[in-house]
Each structure stands twice: as C-alpha cells, then as structure tokens.
Amino acid sequence: MDKAAESDAMEVGDFERDGTTKNVTIEYRQYGGEQDMHHVMQLVDNELSEPYSIFTYRYFLHNWPKLCWLTFDGAHCFGVVVCKADDHRGAQRGYIAMLVVEDDYRGLGVGTTLVKRAIEEMIAADADEVVLEAEVTNSGALALYRNLGFLRDKRLIRYYMNGADAFRLKLLLPLPPRRQLEHNAVAQMAALNTA
C-alpha cells in the first residue's frame, strides 16, 4: 500500500536538548506505508497510557494513510498523528485518534503542525467537523486544541482505563461554498413548505 506520500522539511533554530544546544531540522512526512508502521506503534506505545492492539493501528493506517503524519529529526521519528474520517449521523466527521510528540521535542509547535496537516487533509475531503478526546487534566493537549478553535463538546465520565474523565473536543468546520449553496436551497424549500 505504499503511496506517493507528501513530505516537506522545515528548519528550526537553536534547540536545547540534553543540556546542549543544537540545530534541528524537522521534517513532516505523510504515512508512507508498512515501513512507517513501527515508528507509529513505538511512539504511541511509549507515550500514551491507553494500550492499543496491532489491529487498532492497522485499522487506522490501512484505511486512512493520508490522515497520518509523522515528524522526523534526521532518521529519528519523534511525533505522529493518527486519524480517520467517515460518516457520523449524516455528517462527515474527522477523528483524531492519537497524537504523540516525544517529551524532548515539545514546545516547538510540532503537535500543532501535525494536527493542522491532518485537518487540512480532512477539509480537502469535505469534512464537516473534527472530534477527539483528551484527558481533562491534560492541560497541554487542551491548550493545543483550543488554539486551533476546538470547543469542549462533552465531558465523558471515567472515559479512560485509569478512571480519568475526558473532554470530547469538537471543531465545527464552515460549509464549503458548494455545500453552503445546497444547504441554503434546502432551507428555502423547508421555509416554502412551512408557509
């Protein structure tokens, strides 16, 4: 299932790591196929508390490879976002399943960029909304998504295996012009019928 995945590079200035300052090149790359699978699994297994089986990774990556972005420092993969997009009660809903940035690389806006890439892909595929869950105490993640315009839609009690609550975050996207026209026409018809 290897595909022509997108990739680009961005130079980042001085970056302090392990007490030394070094210059890092951060490269964002779309999931390219089986060879990237172990990067995704290793990062998520190491950094997230919820355990996922191989089936879960394959479910996302096989169905929506374009909605998975990875980020590399040279050969070292240190960040990933895994998503899906499908129909939810008549709306096209994007879902951010996993987002991981290694501790040493946090604070550089990498998580924000990864999520933005994924959302841009979803918008290109006509998504109406994007949702995800985040732990109520994960202030870093909550701030990241807030800065992208996400609202807390629901509180989910004891959502995680550790018993913690989650917020369902939701970003409602504006209707694209073509869909807006359709929407207006339906509303006008409904108004006419009522009259």
Binding site: M1, D2, G33, E34, P51, Y52, S53, I54, F55, T56, R58, Y59, H62, K84, K116, I119, I123, V136, R146, N147, L148, G149, L151, R152, D153, K154, R155, L156, I157, R158, Y159, M161, G163, D165, F167, K170, L171, L172, L173, P174
Partner: protein
C-alpha cells in the same frame, strides 16, 4: 461458585482441536509487505476490543501470578480481630464496586464469599457474607431496573459470577442469617456484661468490643437490605418504611466507624487475581480498594442520598416535583440512589391496588399544573396533549436521574421530543372545544398578534426553556466552556430566562383565579355533575398562582444577573484580558452553531441565530471601561432586587414543602452578584493603572464570573 452448564461441558469435551499454525504460516508468506486481510465487518470497535494474547497490557486473562481459587482459613479458626478485618475489608470491596469497578475484582475477591462453606462456624461473618452477596444482588437488580446508570456509573457485568439466584431466595436466607447472628451476639454481649469483674477482664473487654462491632455491622446490613427492597416502590408506605431503615443504618454506621478494624487491608481471605481468568477479553484495569475512612464516608453519603429519595413523598405538584428533582440532581448522587429514585417516580413498581404516590408525573398532576379538569378533558386534542406531556415529563424525570454529564447530553437530545410536544400543544390550543372550555372556565387568554399560541403551547415553551437553561448551566459545572464563550452563553441564558418570565406572566394573567366559579366541560355528563376545579385544583390549588408568580420573580432576577455577567464577559474581551478565540479553521459563527445549533429543531422557544447575537453584542462603539461600568451597575441592580426578594421571603409565610430551597437559591444569587461587583471594581481600577495588572487575578475573576446556580 462459577458454574458451567452441562452443554458447555459437553461442547468442550467433544471439541476436536486442530493445529492451524502451518496454514497461517503459509497464508502469511503469501502476503506481500503492506498487504492486509481485512473483513469489512472488522471495524474500529472490533479492532479496539481485540487482544493480543500474551501482552500483559491487553490480555486480562494472562496469568501473571497465582490465580484460581485459593485455600482459605476456615472462619471458625479466625480470631475475633481477624474476622473483623475480613468484615471491614468486605465493606471496602463493596464500596469500591459501587464506585464503578467490577464485581470479580472487588466483592468476589473475598474467598469467604466465593467458598461459602469456609465462612461457616463464625455466625456473624457467615451472616455478613450472605448479606453482602444478597445486597449485591439487590443493588444490581435495582440498578438494572432503574435504567439510569451507564458503564461509567456502575459495572453490572458479573463475568459469570453467581448472581442469578434471585433476590427473594438470597435475601430471605441472608435476613434469616442476620437475625440469627443478631440474637446470638446480643445474648453473648448480655452474658459478657455479667462477667465484667472476672480475672481475664482485659481479654474479655476486647472480645466484648469486637462482638459489639459485629452487632453494629449485622444491624447495618439488615437495615440496608430491608431498605433497598422497599425504596424503589412508588407508594408512600414503602418509601416511609425504607426511610426508617436507612435512618437506622446511618445510626449503626457511626458505631461501625468507631469500632473499625485498624488495618482491614491485611485481612486474610482476599485474593485480587482469583477471578482473572473470568475477565472479558479487554485490557485489565487496576483497582485500588477504598480506604477505611473512604469506605465509611461512602456509606454515609449513600445513606444520606437514599434518605433524600424518601423525600419524594413530600411532593404533591408539578412545580414541587421539578424543584425536588433539581435539588436531588444537584447533589450528584451515585448510581444506587439515582436508580432508586427513578423507580420511585416511574410508578411501575407499586403492587397492584396500592395507592400510587402523589409525586408521580401523571395526568392529574399535569392537568392541575394547567388548571385543566383531569376527569373530563375539554377535547380529544387536549387529552392527547396531556398524554404526550406525561411522557415528556417522565422522560425528563429519567434524565434528571442520570449522572450530570449524561444529563446535559440527554437534554440536548430531547429537543426533538419537546418540538413534537409543542405541535400537540398547538393542536390542543386551536381546537374549538378547548377554546369554548377556556371561555367558560374564565380563562382570559389574549392571542398575541401573528401568534396562535394558547396556554398549552405557552406552558410547553416555558418548560422547554427551563430544560435548555439547565443544559447550558450544566456546561459551567462540568467545565465545558472556555471563558471566551461566556458572553454568548450568558446572552442565550438571558433570552431563555426571558421566555420563562414572559410565559409564566402570561399564564398567570390568563388563568382563572382559584376562587372563580367552577367551570363545566362541554359534552361531558360527569363534568356537569361535579366541579372541575372546585377544590382549587387539588393537589395544586392556589399554589399554581404562587408558583407562577415565583417563577416570574425568579426569572426576572436571573435575567438581571445574566445581563450583568454578559456585559462583564464582553468587557473582558473588549479590554483584551481575554484573547479572541483563535480561528485558523472556523469562526465565531461556527462556534455559536456548535453550542446552540441543536435548538434549530424547535419552533418554540424561537431558535436564535448568530447574526442576532452579533448585532446585540456589537461593542465596536463602546470602550471596555464603559462596558465595565455598565456591568457594575447591572450587578448592583441585581443585588438590590435579590436582597428585596430575600426580605420579602423572610417576612412572608414559609413554604411548607421546601422552606429553604428558594431562600438558598436567592442567597447564592446574592453571593454571585456581590462577588462579581467586587471583581468588576477590581478590574476597573486595575485597568486604569495598567492593562497588564488588569490581567492579574483573571483566573479568580473568571471563576467568579462563571459561578452559576442551577435553576429551581
């Protein structure tokens, strides 16, 4: 205690096992890198539920230590102290189960429960084990029947544990054992008192102390079990009996607390992994039992909340039912009392022929709320409307028994039901029979220009507004809103309070006075014989007028508070203390839609659009300073009105049904006004000095601003 059916055993024995490793190996080799065998039915749910055998993070059944039923010391050989530790550990296990953990990892880790014969020989421990088992069955049955608990509230799955014996058998046996133990302990204590002066006084005193401790636990169990049997019934007699039992259990609880074993966590006869092989193929959860202190606190809270359920018998009208449910729901009770309450208000659990509680949201209650004759409704449409209103109110009662997060979501989902109810109300209002009945009954309903709404529609709109307000206000409590959203939220709340104020006033003005001549229902012989509202709309009587009048006052003052809060939020945005919401992908219009889009399904209350909001809070020509000044004046005015209402309440006759609720609510509003007045002043003074200083203490100011009290 785990039982396999004969068919299961036969199926296992007759299985022919094949080695498929070679086949799988061949299939795997035939696949190229990146290829996948995928069935369309294997969705995210299946992927998330699948386990990798042997991965300890995923495989709950993986053997990581000793498992299987362990040998246990017979209870007859336990010292009184060790037996007390087992009893207290069992209470901790049960309380941990009540808090959402599963049975096999809590109560059923006790080997004395799993192997009942091992508890024999210790009359008190045996009775407590039996009673704990029976209580678990009773609680599980109650929660299942209550239909208001979700996975996050209560783990009902038994994973094949023996829970199906039926409450009747279990509790008969348990209550008999408890009675036997109680009598034996009382006799032993009595005898022990006589030996007070013997040589081994110290040892005897400890033994007496332990027997006293067991006696309290036995009595507690007995009262709790008896109370749980009756609390779910919908008659006053059952509720009063249950209340008495819970009060008795609460008294015993204090004795249990005083006689608690110092280290129940060291109790013998508990094996955390004993049921591991029974667990579902899901990642295992680590469970920590509640501490001794947390356990007793849990039972105290549980009993207090079960006692609150018993207060339902004081409810006699729709207004009182609403106030009661708001107050109950505000206590964030656990799954057991919420289930019990739902059973008590849905009326399905009464014995045939028993008089049903006056608190049930049935035809008589809703007719009284609308001053309609329940014995002979004016028209077929109004009868249908009342039937539908009963269903809607019953649904709302169930929603009020959900946990607070689910409740908020359910309120959002039920707008469609309210939209349908409004249609039924409109049909009832428009029917000629109903119009005639209104004229004859002394109603003075004035149709508004271009609006065909009558009293039924008016009532539905008011109730729906109240439900929407509750949805919005729960968001503050659940920390769902960002400060940048407060302005639009208070704006919408102000509108909804306005709907309640106007509609309550309209109903109050149009309703025939309680002293009006009894109306007669057209086309009904029965109605000609007896007065319809002759008993002042029993059970509500004149209290409908009083309730509507209070609603007008309450909504009016809530509006003042909301308006001031909205201004303060707008001032924070205008002054730059709150940054505008970042919008790389959408705008404020989508955020408005996200919060309030669901109301578009309603005809009434009229759904408000983003453009209306944007126009009404356009602050482009105002300075932050002037908006703050306006917020300050708003809070001051609201405080003045709340103070006046409080004084009137103090001077007026006490509310028999709930003397404190309204005053408490007004006190809460007064506190909100006072704190916000100070916050606005601080913000105003700080902004004069330095904008940066104005941002200091913003968290405290926002906390003050979002402070909201639940409707009453």
């Amino acid at each position: 205690m785990i039982q396999f059916s004969a068919q299961d055993k036969l199926a296992c024995e007759s299985c022919a096992w094949l080695d498929i490793e070679e086949l799988i190996q061949d299939a795997a080799e035939a696949l190229q890198e990146g290829e996948l065998v995928h069935d369309d039915h294997f969705s995210l749910y299946e992927a998330m539920s699948a386990v990798e055998i042997g991965d300890p993070k995923l495989d709950a059944g993986m053997c990581t230590g000793p498992s299987g039923v362990q040998e246990v010391r017979p209870a007859s050989s336990l010292s009184s102290s060790d037996a007390l530790a087992v009893a207290d550990r069992l209470f901790a296990a049960e309380a941990t189960w009540h808090q959402g953990n599963n049975l096999p990892q809590t109560v059923f880790t006790c080997l004395y429960i799993l192997q009942p014969r091992s508890a024999e020989g210790h009359i008190a421990l045996e009775a407590l084990c039996k009673a704990t088992h029976a209580t678990c069955i009773a609680v599980r049955d109650l929660v299942l029947a209550g239909n208001v608990c979700e996975d996050e509230d209560f783990a009902l799955h038994t994973f094949g544990m023996h829970m199906e014996m039926g409450l009747k058998d279990a509790d008969v046996s348990a209550l008999a054992a408890l009675t036997l133990a109680e009598e034996a302990l009382e006799a032993l204590l009595q005898r022990g008192r006589g030996k007070g002066s013997s040589g081994a006084a110290a040892g005897q005193a400890i033994l007496q102390e332990h027997m006293g401790a067991f006696l309290a636990r036995v009595r507690f169990r007995k009262a709790l079990l008896k109370g749980l049997q009756r609390v779910q019934k919908s008659t006053k007699q059952d509720q009063d009996f249950a209340r008495k039992q819970f009060a008795a259990a609460l008294q015993e609880l204090e004795r249990m607390r005083d006689s608690a074993h110092p280290r129940p966590q060291d109790a013998v006869g508990f094996c955390p992994d004993v049921n591991r092989r029974l667990m579902a193929p899901i990642p295992p959860r680590n469970i920590t039992f509640l501490t001794s202190q947390q356990t007793w606190d849990h039972y105290a809270k549980l009993l207090e909340h079960l006692l609150l359920v018993g207060d339902i018998v004081k409810v006699g009208s729709y207004g009182e039912l609403k106030a009661y449910l708001f107050a109950f729901s505000g206590r964030s009770c656990g799954g057991i009392p919420r289930s019990a309450l739902h059973l008590a208000v849905n009326g399905k659990t009464a014995r045939p022929g028993d008089p049903m509680g006056a608190w049930l949201p049935r035809k008589a209650m809703l007719c009284a709320a609308l001053r309609m004759p329940s014995s002979a409704l004016p028209s077929a449409d109004s009868a249908l409307f009342i039937d539908q209103a009963c269903l809607a109110v019953a649904g709302w009662c169930q929603d009020m028994c959900l946990n607070r997060a689910r409740q908020r979501r359910r309120h959002r989902r039920t707008v469609e039901d309210w939209a349908h109810l409004y249609d039924h109300a409109a049909n009832a209002d428009m029917s000629p029979e109903f119009q005639l009945w209104m004229a004859e009954s002394g109603w003075q309903w004035q149709m508004k220009e271009g609006d065909s709404q009558g009293p039924c529609g008016c009532w539905v709109e008011k109730e729906c507004a109240s439900m929407l307000l509750q949805h919005l206000q729960l968001g503050f409590e659940l920390d769902v809103y960002a400060p940048e959203e407060y302005c639009m939220l208070f704006w919408y709340c102000d509108f909804l309070h306005g709907v309640i104020e106007v509609n309550s006033r309209d109903l109050l003005k149009a309703m025939p006075s309680s002293s009006a001549k009894s109306p007669h229902t057209p086309n009904s012989k029965a109605a000609k014989k007896k007065p319809v509202t002759g008993k002042k709309n029993s059970p509500d009587g004149t209290s409908i007028e009083h309730a509507l009048h209070t609603e007008v006052q309450q909504a009016g003052v809530e509006r003042l508070v909301c308006q001031a809060q909205m201004r303060m939020a707008a001032a924070l945005l205008a002054g730059g203390q709150l940054r505008p919401f970042p919008a790389p992908f959408n705008s404020e219009a989508q955020r408005f839609e996200q919060r309030f889009g669901f109301v578009q399904r309603l005809q009434r209350p009229e759904p408000l659009a983003f453009d209306q909001y944007a126009r009404s809070v356009d602050i482009s020509t105002c300075t932050a300073d002037s908006i703050l000044q306006s917020a300050f004046e708003g809070f001051r005015e609201a405080r003045r009105v709340v103070t006046m209402l409080l004084q009137l309440r103090l001077a007026g006759p006490a509310d028999k049904a709930r003397p404190d609720q309204r005053s408490e609510h007004l006190q809460a509003l007064l506190r909100i006004c006072s704190q916000n007045t100070v916050a606005v002043k601080v913000l105003h003074d700080a902004a004069k000095v330095d904008a940066a200083e104005a941002a200091c203490g913003l968290c405290a100011i926002l906390a003050t601003l979002r402070d909201a009290v639940q409707p009453i």
